[in-house]
């Protein structure tokens, strides 16, 4: 399985709604300083509830809403991020331990290929989004035996901030409202953990070296 798309709306330096389509394998994100690369990773942490606001370089959650939105003086502004996973041909996440995940995915990789050929021109992806050919498939989460089509699973988080500065944050799995705890249980099944080491933020790589040896041993505890 892999993340096939991240959609950001009014999140940090992303003004309107921006689609970032992704493929399996090895993708590099590059560009000038201050352009928004780290903000994309913050968006992943935000949507999947993997970090506090400080972990996303924000003093408090309202700082995550794009500045232009906030300064337009509307009564309520909203930022949201949707992460779409492609679960491959697994009917449900119990298939994750199958011996050859790549082989199973090859059939649906072809379907994804067609979507990507659309955006492989150098157009900004936010302009290409109207051409998105794949319909959003609402997966029911409890298995329906559809093996021919990619099996999508989406997580959305919406942050609403009122003019007074109070805010609410809500999570949705496949557009159904859920609690953070429920989201973490689902992510746990997919082997995504808040204290996992699969996301390494800018400047943090050597923290494993400077951390206390007991903290470091706890990393192994978590996995065992």
């Amino acid at each position: 399985m892999y993340i096939k798309r991240v959609e950001l709306t009014h999140f940090k330096s992303f003004g309107g709604t921006t689609q970032v389509p992704l493929l399996p394998g090895f993708t590099v994100v590059s560009g000038p300083n201050g352009s928004g690369k780290s903000n994309i990773l913050d968006a992943l942490l935000f949507a999947l509830g993997l970090s506090s606001s400080k972990g996303m370089r924000a003093e408090r959650l309202p700082d995550l809403v794009n500045q232009n939105q906030t300064s337009r003086g509307r009564s309520t502004v909203e930022a949201s991020v949707t992460v779409t996973f492609d679960l491959g041909e697994a009917i449900d996440s119990q298939d994750q331990d199958s011996p050859d995940p790549k082989g199973q995915e090859s059939a649906e990789a072809e379907a994804v290929t067609h979507a990507c050929e659309v955006s492989s021109s150098a157009l900004p992806i936010s302009e290409a989004q109207d051409d998105e050919p794949l319909p959003r498939m609402e997966s029911s989460g409890n298995g329906t035996g559809r093996r021919q089509a990619p099996h999508e699973w989406t997580v959305t988080r919406k942050l609403r901030v009122t003019q007074q500065g109070t805010y609410t944050s809500n999570y949705f799995i496949n557009d159904q409202s859920c609690t953070l705890t429920e989201l973490h249980e689902q992510l746990h099944k997919l082997r995504i953990y808040p204290e996992g080491y699969n996301v390494v933020l800018q400047g943090d790589v050597t923290s494993i070296i400077s951390m206390n040896p007991r903290e470091r041993r706890e990393i192994i505890d978590e996995l065992a």
């Binding site: 993340i3 000038p32 992806i125 192994i220």
Partner: protein
């Protein structure tokens, strides 16, 4: 529970030794302060980059620390793979030759997981299957450009 820990520790240790040898051209292994009391103990990384005598971790160079930390992260990954990994400029301390080594290792690890790597370094960009370009015009919003999407290389 102690047995579960031991099993995890041994597996990660074995991975760490292999990966460290590949990334740092030296010997490294994990060590518990108190092998008979894992839960009261700390976990140390013993590192000999390039055959140097063992130094305390703190005295290693910036590049050596990065490679040691990354070896540990990859060792964890091979034991309990996550579906995706997101690395933000983990190559910032590395010299050109080490960026290439790291890029090669990431390429190898992508057989098991999706890697999204933010990087400014050319050897990393060249090793990837594709690059997503991010820009921000003066006073404007972030724009994302899909560059070099090579779908044909994505399906195995």
């Amino acid at each position: 529970r102690q047995r579960a820990f031991k099993e995890a520790f041994d597996a990660v240790n074995e991975n760490f030794q292999t990966i460290f040898a590949e990334l740092s051209d030296g010997d490294g292994y994990l060590q518990l302060d108190l092998p008979h009391d894992p839960f009261g103990s700390g976990l140390n990384l013993v590192a000999h980059p390039k055959g140097k005598p063992v130094r305390r971790l703190a005295s290693m160079s910036g590049g050596e620390k990065s490679l040691t930390a990354l070896s540990f992260i990859f060792a964890l990954q091979r034991y309990r793979p996550s579906p995706f990994y997101a690395f933000d400029e983990v190559d910032m301390f590395l010299d050109g030759a080490n960026v290439e080594r790291l890029a090669r290792m990431i390429k190898h690890q992508t057989q098991q997981a999706q890697f999204i790597v933010v990087s400014l370094r050319r050897p990393m960009i060249e090793a990837a299957e594709r690059t997503i370009g991010v820009t921000q015009a003066r006073g404007a919003y972030t724009q994302v450009l899909g560059l070099n999407l090579q779908p044909q290389s994505a399906s195995v």
